[in-house]
Structure formats: structure tokens, C-alpha cells
């Protein structure tokens, strides 16, 4: 037998195989996900990863997106260093992803990294630093979407609603003094400064404006300053649940018995599950503001699926919001009817309203961050009673009335 035939046969078989394979198994759609999988933010990163894995698994089980399978491409941005987000970004784009979705990945460089490309980029950094470039140069950054509000919104919101609390509990603030205690981190500094600027315009006096680093063990000296300046409003802006728990514990230790004539407000942190566990009884009466949280039938169903998959509860905002982001994009792709027509997909995201679990998403046309609003993405006011955060406002969420915190004795 002459072997030229064998060769011909083999080559033919290979060619047929390749063609057939190419026709049957279409390339999957790649989703790039830069996540903080190691380092100090790993706990959130883990939740984001799980949310995306569940989303892709469910979508693929339902036949994929536009009939194509989805596949995740992870990148670790560690401690959110600029160098890393740049490298990870380029690697993901280089791998040919059609969208980049993350919970959060950075303190302000990400928009510039992903703005260079055309693939839609959805992030929940909740930072003005990330949306400012979009507002200033829409031509370049049209593909960057922030599916949360900006950090500054907390300050704007607090400057209005904090002063609505005293009349509701029948307490008259003894003065117009305010303490602002914040950690040096953009997410906290930006709203705290915004708040301070606004209340000063309203005629209040910021008597303490203290910036700390993460990891304060002893709040004693700062509490001493609170004691001697006697501000009627103490506002606390610090992302770290351990810092916040120590603060409220030491605050309640110091003032619990004799009392102090002050409301205590916190930005976001009590929504981190550890906070209540660590602070315990000391947190009773604390007022705080965060997202609408995880409730509603849609979430309950999601939770069931999550538990079935991972054998534990979803924890924190990003277990839910990251999924919402995925769904927003998937809906836009389905409406556009194509995945690599990025401008089309972005247009659909921009124009659509999406009913998610954490919010109803409508993007602000100016900076493409999620619009704040009672019926959109709300900032919800809570007060902690009996170890639970009880929603107090806006009206839609209100369950009961504010009460006087235990340390206000008058």
C-alpha cells in the first residue's frame, strides 16, 4: 500500500474535523472580570466571583446568550494597585472579552484603563473618581457604566435627611455643632467632605473634622474631644467594620450611662454583616445609611438558588449587585441582538430601565452612574434596634418611627 493515500486521508479527515468542530462549537462569549481575589478586599471579591459564576451557570443552562455559551475570565487585582488593574485590564482585553464586569476593582484608575477600549465596562466602585472622567469626556468613556451611585451622594443625602430625624424623636439638638470622623479612603473622604461643605453652608459648625487611618484601636482621644466640644451630630465615615464597631462600642461605654446629647450617623458600614456581630448591644440606636439591601421576592428566589449552589448564604451588597450588573448587560445584548456591537449594547444599557434585586437601575446620562431615587436606587436610612437594622426612610421602606438612642437622656 502506498502511503501517499494515508497522508491524503489523514489531511482530509483533519480538515473535515476542523470545519465541523468550528461549525458546531461556536466560540463562547468571554466575560472579563477583574476582581480583588487576594488581599484586604478578598471577602467581597469572593462574593462577586460566586455571583458571576452562578449567573453564567444559569445562563448557560438556559441555552446561553443569543445561543452562545458564556465563559468567565478572571483577573486578580489584589489590593487594588494601579499597576495591577492596568495589567489585568490589558490581559482581559487581549484575551478578547466582550464585556468587563466587576463588583469593584479600583480607586479611580479603572475608568481610564477600560475607557481606552470599546467593550462595555460595568463596575460598582461607587466612586466619584470613577465617574468624573465619564462626565468630563463622554466621547472617550462612553463604555463605562457604574451600576451604583457615587460616593458623594451619601454626603448630599445626609446633609438633608440627618436633620429630619430630631423632630421625629421629639428631641431638640442642643446646638448646631457637627463632628465628622472619616477614614482616609476616597469612598469615605469624598462624601464626608461633601457633607461638611454642605452643612457649613446651612449654618452648622463642624467642630471636629478628623481623618484617621484604618485600624484605630483606641478611639478614646477622639471621644474626649467629642466630650469637650459636645456636638449634637456625630457622623462617622469609615468602610472598615472593625473600626466602626470599636468606635460605637467605645462611644457607648463612655457615654452610655451619663448620656450625651448627640445623634450618631454612619455611612454604609453597618450593612457589612460583621458589624452588628462585633458591635452587639452598643449599636442600639445608631442611625446609618446604605443600600436597599437584600429583600423582596426576587431576592428570596435568588438566595435559594445561591444556597443550592454554594451551601451558604449570599453575604453583602456585591453578592447581589454584581448579578444585577450581569443581567443588565445580558438584557442589553439580547435587545441589541449582537454581542460585539458594543455601541449598540451600551446604548441599550443607557436607555433601558432594569428591575434588579438591589435597585431599579437607570443610568444617569451625564456620568453613567445609577440614578439615586426612592424608586430607583435608593439610599435607605436605618436605625439599629434589637440587633437588627430597621428601615426608617424613605417612605417606601419605612417600617416604624425613629426612637431616641439610649445615650440621649434628655
Amino acid at each position: 500500500m502506498r502511503c501517499s493515500n494515508c497522508w491524503t486521508a489523514i489531511i482530509l479527515a483533519l480538515a473535515v474535523g476542523c470545519l465541523a468542530g468550528g461549525a458546531v462549537a461556536e466560540e463562547p462569549i468571554l466575560i472579563g472580570t477583574p476582581l480583588p481575589l487576594t488581599g484586604p478586599y478578598a471577602s467581597d471579591g469572593e462574593q462577586m466571583k460566586m455571583a458571576l459564576e452562578l449567573a453564567v451557570a444559569e445562563k448557560n443552562a438556559a441555552g446561553g446568550l443569543l445561543g452562545r455559551k458564556l465563559e468567565l475570565k478572571f483577573g486578580d487585582v489584589g489590593g487594588l494597585e494601579a499597576e495591577k488593574i492596568k495589567a489585568v485590564g490589558e490581559r482581559l482585553i487581549g484575551a478578547g472579552v466582550d464585556v468587563v464586569i466587576t463588583g469593584y476593582d479600583d480607586g479611580g484608575v479603572d475608568t481610564k484603563v477600560f475607557g481606552q477600549y470599546d467593550v462595555p465596562y460595568l463596575h460598582g466602585n461607587a466612586m466619584t473618581l470613577c465617574t468624573e472622567p465619564v462626565a468630563q469626556n463622554f466621547e472617550k468613556y462612553w463604555n463605562c457604566f457604574q451600576y451604583t451611585y457615587n460616593d458623594k451622594d451619601y454626603g448630599v443625602d445626609a446633609a438633608v435627611h440627618l436633620f429630619e430625624v430630631p423632630p421625629q424623636i421629639g428631641w431638640k439638638p442642643p446646638n448646631k455643632k457637627i463632628a465628622v470622623i472619616k477614614v482616609d479612603y476616597a469612598y469615605n473622604v469624598m462624601p464626608a467632605d461633601e457633607f461638611a461643605r454642605r452643612v457649613e453652608k446651612q449654618g452648622y459648625e463642624v467642630v471636629i473634622n478628623e481623618t484617621t487611618q484604618f485600624g484605630v484601636a483606641e478611639w478614646g482621644p477622639i471621644l474626649s474631644r467629642i466630650e469637650s466640644t459636645q456636638p449634637a451630630f456625630v457622623t462617622f465615615w469609615n468602610l472598615d467594620p472593625t473600626d466602626a464597631a470599636r468606635f460605637i462600642k467605645q462611644f457607648s461605654d463612655r457615654f452610655g450611662d451619663e448620656g450625651i446629647d448627640a445623634l450618631v450617623y454612619m455611612q454604609y458600614t453597618p450593612s457589612i454583616p460583621e458589624f452588628l456581630e462585633l458591635a452587639g448591644k452598643a449599636a442600639e440606636g445608631l442611625i446609618w445609611v446604605g443600600s436597599a439591601g437584600n429583600s423582596g421576592p426576587k431576592f428570596e428566589d435568588y438566595k435559594k438558588r445561591w444556597v443550592a449552589q454554594f451551601k451558604k448564604d449570599p453575604a453583602g451588597l456585591y453578592a447581589v449587585a454584581t448579578r444585577d450588573a450581569f443581567d443588565i448587560w445580558a438584557q442589553a445584548v439580547e435587545r441589541a441582538g449582537c454581542v460585539d456591537c458594543y455601541r449598540e449594547v451600551a446604548r441599550h444599557m443607557r436607555e433601558a430601565t432594569y428591575e434588579g434585586m438591589a435597585a431599579t437601575y437607570v443610568f444617569n446620562p451625564l456620568d453613567q452612574s445609577a440614578l439615586l431615587g426612592e424608586y430607583l436606587m435608593p439610599l435607605v436610612w436605618y436605625q439599629i434596634w434589637e440587633g437588627k437594622s430597621v428601615p426608617m426612610g424613605p417612605k417606601r421602606f419605612k417600617q416604624t418611627n425613629y426612637r431616641k438612642p439610649p445615650w440621649i437622656k434628655k
Binding site: 487576594t38 488581599g39 484586604p40 478578598a42 471577602s43 469572593e46 482616609d184 478628623e210 481623618t211 484617621t212 487611618q213 485600624g215 484605630v216 484601636a217 483606641e218 478611639w219 478614646g220 482621644p221 477622639i222 471621644l223 474626649s224 474631644r225 466630650e227 469637650s228 467594620p241 472593625t242 464597631a245 470599636r246 461605654d253 463612655r254 450611662d257 454583616p273 460583621e274 456581630e277 462585633l278 453575604a315
Partner: protein, 291 residues
Amino acid sequence: MNIKEIINTLVSGLISGSLYAIMALGLTIIYGVIHVFNFGHGIVAVLGGYFTWLFLTKLGLGLIPSILLALVFMFFFGLLLFKATINPLLKTPNWEFSTIIFLLGMGILLENLALQAFGPRVKHIPAFFEGSLKIGFVRVNWHEISLIGIVLVFILILNFFLKKTWFGQAMRAVAQDMDGARIVGISITRIFGYAFAMATMVTGFSGILLGTKYYMTPHIGWDWMVKGFVIVVLGGLGSATGAVYAAFIMGIAEALATLYLGSLWVWPIWFLIFVTILLLRPQGLAGGRTL
């Protein structure tokens, strides 16, 4: 000048001081005997806390049995670590550098293994005592008083141990003159091994104490370690008593800086005190005496 403010701040300083002293204890013992700086100090402390937490919540043991069990664990962990890695490294010509880098590497390895094993969520160990003591306008938690007490009692016990037991005397002997120790029939490797194990246990214990106040994530150890370094150097390397002085000085400096300048000034002021003392007294507060 508000006297109430100052006194309360000083009390805060004492509390921070006791925490800093706790951070320094294990470091100073290892350095005092073996002359090795434990760059894995932080994670070892955190592991002590994590083990206690594990026994407390998963095995349902009481607080004291959990702590004791964790200490036993830490002791054998230290012994194993020494026998398997540090001891061979000490015999290499570049041992000072090698051990430091090795312990650094081990620190990051253990930190990330702990992250895998225990997860990234914050854990804590319950306070030892509830309630607080009130004297005039000063109010201190019993738990915090107990921390200060533990530091002081620990120093007393350590001094007793070092001065009055054969093993403690042998440790001091090794620290002061290794050849002398060998001459009187002390086995250096054995003393090193047990000293390392003991210091690991003490470091683990410090993690338990810190876990009640700082709470624990796998990453918190680096912070404890760097602060521990400052304290140990200031106190005079290897002197536990000096470290306690240094810790209280730095605690009070921190509290006063926070009160008058703002808490962001704490590190720059620490650095300033650090450089000044090192320049004036390179041997540290306790004056270069070992153990």
C-alpha cells in the same frame, strides 16, 4: 487645657500601650534568645487567635479551655517550625538574612492559607469580662484593665521564669554567651527549639488578646508586626521589660498626638521618636542588656 480630656486620653494611652506591649512580647523573646527577628510574627499571632476562635465556636469549648488548647497547638507548631526550617537555616553562613526572608515568605504563605481555611470575614474573640470600672469621670472596661493586668503579670512570670528556673537560666545563658552555654553543658539546639516554641506560644497568646480588641482577619498581622518592631527596638532588642516601657510610652504618645494634632500624626511622631531614641541610645531604653 481640659483636665478631664487629658486624663481620659492618658487612660486611652495606657490601654493602647498594653496592646502594643502584647504585640512585642513574642518578638522580644525570640530575638533575645536566638537573635532572629521573626518576620512571621504577625501571622503567628493571628493563628493563635484563629485557633482559639475555632475551638470556641466549632468545638464549643469554653473560653479558657480553648485558649489553653490553642496555646498547646502553638507550642508544637513553633517547635516543628524550628526543627524543620529555622534550625537548618541558622547553620548557613548568611543566616541573619536567610531567616528573615524565610520568615517573611512563611508569613505570606500562612496568611493566605489562613485566608483559604478561615475565609476573609472578620472573626473575634469575646471580651474576658463585661462591665466597666468607674472612678470619678474616668471609666475603664474591666476587660481593658485585665489586658493591662495580663501584661504586667506576664512580665512578672517571665522574669521569675528567667531567673528562677533551670530552663530560664539556660535561655539567658544562651542569649548572653553561646559558647559559655555550651561549655556548661547546655544544648543550644534544644534551648533554641524550646525558646522558639515558647515564643510562638506567647505570640499566639498575644494574638488571642489582640483578637478581643482588634478583631481578626488574616491580614491584620502585618500591622501588629510592624508596631511590635518599633516597640521592641525602642525597648532595647531582646529586653521584655524594656519593651513594656516602650509600649506604654508609645501608647501615651499616640493618645496625646491624636488629641492635640489628629490621628494622622501618630505615625510621623512615632517615626520621629524612633529615630531620636535610636540616635541617642542605639541600644534602646533598656540599655542593651539581654533578657
